[in-house]
C-alpha cells in the first residue's frame, strides 16, 4: 500500500507551476467561464499553449504527437493545473476523443486528427443526446444512411457542450434501424462546417451559452469518417464517456479545496460585530466537513487512477469505480457551491460588475454565484447521478435488473 508520488512525478508538478507562472490564467480570457468542475474555462489560446508543451497528448503515443507517458502523469498534470483553475475546457473533449481515436481509429484517421489535436488546434464536441434521448440514449432518432461513398445524416442533437466553439463532432447515429439499438448505432467524426449542419446555442441557467442544439439536414458524412466498426458505436460511446466520468471529475478535490482555502481566508478576515466569521461554530463545522469530503473524493479519484496505472481498462472492466467518483464529486460540488453562497450571505446573489460584489476586481469576482447556478447541471452532464447510481448498483454490487 502506498500513496506517495515519485520524484519524477513531483518534478512534473513543478513544471506545471513554472508553466502557470509563464501563462497565468488571468491572461487568458475565456469564451466560457469556469463552471466549477475543476478544468477551468474555455480558452483556445491556453489550449494551444498546452499543445506547444505537448501536454494535451501527454499520455498519447509519441508517433501521434503525444509524449507517451503513463496515464498517472496526465492525472498529475490535470490535478496540478486545477490548483490554479487553469482554463483547459477547450481541450476537454480532445482528451476523450484522443483515447477513442487511438483505440478505434484507422491509421488515416489517427494521422489526420491526432497531431492537430495534440497541438490544441482542433476542438471537439460530442453529439449524442437528443430531445427524446437523454439518459435513454436508445430513444434517439438521428440516422446515418449509407449512400455510395457517404452516409447521409438526418436528425437533431441537443445539450452538446462546446459544440458551437468546436471544429469537429463525435456523432452517434442509427445505422441499422432493424437491429436492437445496442448493435445498430455507429460513431462518426463530423466536420462542423459540413453543409446541412446548423448549430443553435442554448443558454443555461447561468445565462451563458455553454451548449447548443445541432440540426443535421441531409448532411453528407464521408464513409471514411466512420470511427470504429459499423454498428458498434454504442459500446464505444459508453467507453469514451470515461473522459467525462473520470478525467472530468478527478479535478474536483483540488478545485474545491482552492475555493475552500479562499473561504477560510475570507472568514478569518471578515468580521461581523467585531468577531471574525471563522469563530462561528456552524461555519467551522461546515467548512471542516467539506474539507473532509474533499479528501474522501481525492481517495476515490486515486483509486481509479491506481487501476488505470496498473493497466486495467477501467471504462470497460470497472466503470462503476468511475461512477462512484462522479456521483460523489458532483454532489460535493453542489454542496460546496451552496456553502460558499451561505457564507457570503445576501451579497452572494450579486453578479460580477455589481456594486458591493464580493472579491471585486479579483479573479474570484462573481465566480461563486456563477458556479452555484451551474452546480445543478454538473450532475446531469456525462451521465446523470441517477444513472451513475444505477451503474454502481448493477456493476459494483451485482444487484439485479428490474
Amino acid at each position: 500500500m502506498d500513496f506517495s508520488f515519485t520524484p519524477e512525478q513531483e518534478k512534473l508538478r513543478q513544471e506545471v507551476r513554472d508553466f502557470i507562472k509563464e501563462h497565468p490564467p488571468e491572461n487568458y480570457p475565456c469564451e466560457l467561464e469556469d463552471e466549477g468542475y475543476g478544468f477551468g474555462g474555455c480558452s483556445r489560446e491556453f489550449t494551444r499553449e498546452m499543445g506547444k508543451k505537448r501536454w494535451i497528448g501527454i499520455s498519447w503515443p509519441k508517433e501521434y504527437g503525444g509524449l507517451g507517458r503513463p496515464w498517472i502523469d496526465m492525472f498529475i498534470l490535470k490535478d496540478e493545473l486545477a490548483r490554479y483553475a487553469a482554463p483547459t475546457m477547450a481541450h476537454f473533449y480532445i482528451d476523450s476523443m484522443g483515447v477513442s481515436i487511438v483505440a478505434h481509429g484507422t491509421e488515416e484517421q489517427k494521422k489526420e486528427f491526432l497531431p492537430k489535436m495534440a497541438r490544441g488546434e482542433l476542438i471537439w464536441a460530442t453529439a449524442l443526446s437528443e430531445p427524446d434521448a437523454g439518459s435513454d440514449l436508445f430513444g434517439m432518432k438521428t440516422t446515418a444512411v449509407r449512400k455510395g461513398d457517404d452516409f447521409i445524416v438526418n436528425g437533431n442533437k441537443v445539450w452538446n457542450t462546446l459544440s458551437h466553439f468546436s471544429d469537429w463532432l463525435l456523432l452517434l447515429a442509427i445505422t441499422d434501424p432493424e437491429a436492437p439499438r445496442a448493435r445498430g448505432m455507429s460513431t462518426f467524426v463530423v466536420d462542423v462546417k459540413t453543409p446541412g449542419i446548423t448549430l443553435r446555442p442554448v443558454a443555461d441557467m447561468t445565462f451563458s451559452e455553454s451548449f447548443a442544439e445541432i440540426f443535421f439536414d441531409e448532411v453528407k458524412v464521408p464513409a471514411k469518417n466512420l470511427l470504429g466498426p459499423l454498428n458498434r458505436g454504442f459500446a464505444q460511446t459508453m467507453e469514451s464517456l470515461e473522459g467525462d466520468r473520470f478525467w472530468g471529475r478527478m479535478v474536483r478535490p483540488v478545485a474545491t479545496r482552492r475555493m475552500l482555502d479562499l473561504m477560510v481566508q475570507y472568514c478569518n478576515e471578515t468580521k461581523h460585530n467585531g468577531v471574525p466569521l471563522s469563530k462561528d461554530t456552524v461555519i467551522r463545522d461546515t467548512l471542516a466537513e467539506l474539507a473532509i469530503e474533499i479528501e474522501v473524493c481525492r481517495g476515490l479519484a486515486y483509486y481509479v487512477i491506481s487501476l488505470i496505472d496498473k493497466g486495467i481498462n477501467v471504462s470497460l472492466e470497472a466503470s462503476h469505480e468511475e461512477s462512484i467518483l462522479k456521483t460523489f464529486a458532483d454532489e460535493l460540488g453542489r454542496r460546496a457551491a451552496n456553502v460558499w453562497m451561505q457564507i457570503l450571505g445576501p451579497k452572494g446573489q450579486l453578479w460580477k460588475g455589481s456594486k458591493y460584489v464580493p472579491f471585486e476586481g479579483e479573479p474570484f469576482e462573481g465566480v461563486i454565484p456563477f458556479q452555484y447556478l451551474f452546480a445543478p447541471g454538473v450532475g446531469l452532464a456525462g451521465g446523470t447521478t441517477q444513472m451513475q447510481r444505477q451503474t454502481i448498483a448493477w456493476r459494483d454490487l451485482g444487484l439485479p435488473r428490474a
Partner: protein
C-alpha cells in the same frame, strides 16, 4: 506510486483473521459475551494469543512479532467486521503502546511480555464525567506523599476496568497547567485499595466502567514516563488508537453493506427481489460510495502514522468521516432489511448499537471537525 493493494504478508494476516473470526466468533458468541459479566472468553483470548496477535506491534524482545501499525489496522478491521467485543482494543491498541512509548526499560521488560502472552489486561483511564467528550478535562489529582502518590478522582467510560489487571491512569499533577500539559501517567494495579469500579449499562453491551480513586496510594516507581509529561506520550498513542478504531469501524461498515446487498438479492416483494428496485439500489449505491471513500483516508493515515509523518488533519478527518458514514450506513441498512432487521434476534442491531459506541469513542464527528477547523487555520 498510488497502490491500494495489501502486501502478500498483509493479505495473509487479513485472510487468517477473517477465517479465525468466521470460525470461532459466531454472533451467538457475541450475544453471550454481551451478557457475560466479564465480557471475554479466556478460551478465545488464548487462541488469539497463540496467533501472536497480542504482540503484533510489540518488538520481538518483548515477545511480540514486530509488526507495523498497518498490520494492527488490518487486524482491527477484521475485528470490526466480526463485531468483536473483547479486551483486545484497550490492551493491545491503547494500553501497550503507551507503555512502549513512556515506560522505563524495567517497566517495559516487566509488563510487555505479559501483554504478548495474554497474561495482562490493560486499560486507559482518561476521560471524566463531563457534558462533552474532552480528553483534556482531567481533574483527577495525584499528590506526592513520601514514597507514594495519593490519587483522588473519578474516571468515566473506562473500557474493561472490571477485568483489567492494570489501569494506566491520567492524572493532573500540575494544576497550573491547562489541556494536556501537567498530566502524569500512572500504572495502577486494579486491586489497589481505594480503587473501585462500577460496570455501566451501555446500549451495545460493551464493558465500560466508572472508576473511582479514593485516596489510592501508588508507589513513585509506578509513574510512567516523566512527571508532568504524560500528555506527550498520550498524543501518539491516542492518535494511533483513533485510526485503529477507524479501521475497526471500516470493517463493520463494510460488513453491513455486504449483508444489505445480499439480503436485497434474496428478499422478494411484489414478485421481484427488492434489489431490483431503484430505491433499494440507490440506498446500496450510497453505502458503497461511503465505505470506499473511508478506506482511502483511513489507510492513508495509517501509513503516515506508521512512518511518523505529521497527519493531525488526516486523523481527525478519518474519525469524523467514518463516524457519520457508518451511522448513515446503519440507517440505510435498516431500510433495506425492513422489520426483520429491527428485531433483537437479527444481526444488524448488534452492528448498529456497536456503531454508536465506536462513534462516541475517542471523539465523535463534531469533536474532530473542530480539530479540522483548527487545522484549516480558522
Amino acid at each position: 506510486m498510488i497502490d491500494f493493494d495489501l502486501s502478500e504478508e498483509q493479505k495473509m494476516l487479513q485472510t487468517a483473521a477473517r477465517e479465525f473470526f468466521d470460525t470461532n466468533y459466531p454472533k451467538t458468541l457475541v450475544r453471550e459475551l454481551i451478557k457475560d459479566p466479564k465480557g471475554y472468553f479466556p478460551e478465545l483470548w488464548r487462541r488469539m494469543v497463540k496467533l501472536g496477535w497480542m504482540g503484533i506491534i510489540l518488538p520481538e524482545k518483548y515477545g511480540g512479532s514486530g509488526g507495523t501499525f498497518l498490520d494492527l489496522c488490518i487486524l482491527c478491521e477484521e475485528m470490526g467486521r466480526a463485531c468483536l467485543v473483547d479486551p483486545f482494543f484497550s490492551t493491545v491498541v491503547v494500553g501497550a503502546p503507551i507503555i512502549l512509548e513512556a515506560g522505563s526499560d524495567e517497566q517495559k521488560q516487566k509488563l510487555l511480555p505479559q501483554v504478548a502472552s495474554g497474561d495482562l489486561i490493560l486499560t486507559l483511564a482518561l476521560t471524566e464525567p463531563s457534558p462533552k467528550y474532552d480528553p483534556y478535562f482531567v481533574q483527577t489529582g495525584a499528590k506526592l506523599d513520601g514514597a507514594n502518590y495519593v490519587i483522588n478522582g473519578v474516571k468515566l467510560f473506562v473500557e474493561n476496568a472490571h477485568i483489567a489487571d492494570c489501569i494506566i491512569l491520567v492524572a493532573r499533577t500540575d494544576k497550573s497547567k491547562v489541556r494536556d500539559e501537567g498530566f502524569t501517567l500512572f500504572l495502577i494495579d486494579t486491586k489497589t485499595p481505594g480503587l473501585s469500579h462500577t460496570l455501566l449499562k451501555t446500549i451495545s453491551g460493551d464493558k465500560q466502567c466508572e472508576v473511582v480513586f479514593n485516596n489510592v496510594r501508588v508507589p513513585k516507581e509506578n509513574v510512567l514516563g516523566t512527571l508532568n509529561e504524560g500528555g506527550s506520550y498520550l498524543k501518539e498513542a491516542l492518535d494511533k488508537a483513533t485510526v485503529a478504531k477507524c479501521a475497526e469501524m471500516l470493517g463493520s461498515a463494510q460488513k453491513i453493506v455486504e449483508m444489505s446487498v445480499d439480503y436485497a438479492k434474496e428478499r422478494v416483494q411484489f414478485g421481484h427481489p427488492i434489489g431490483s428496485y431503484q430505491a433499494i439500489q440507490w440506498l446500496c449505491a450510497d453505502m458503497s460510495i461511503e465505505v470506499k471513500g473511508a478506506r482511502y483516508i483511513i489507510y492513508k493515515t495509517a501509513l503516515e502514522l506508521n512512518e511518523g509523518l505529521p497527519c493531525s488533519f488526516d486523523i481527525a478527518a478519518c474519525k469524523a468521516w467514518i463516524s457519520d458514514a457508518q451511522y448513515r450506513i446503519c440507517l440505510r441498512a435498516h431500510e433495506v432489511f425492513g422489520a426483520i432487521g429491527f428485531t433483537e434476534e437479527h444481526d444488524l442491531p448488534l452492528y448498529t448499537r456497536r456503531a454508536k459506541t465506536q462513534e462516541l469513542t475517542l471523539g465523535d464527528s463534531r469533536y474532530h471537525r473542530e480539530v479540522v477547523a483548527c487545522e484549516l487555520g480558522m
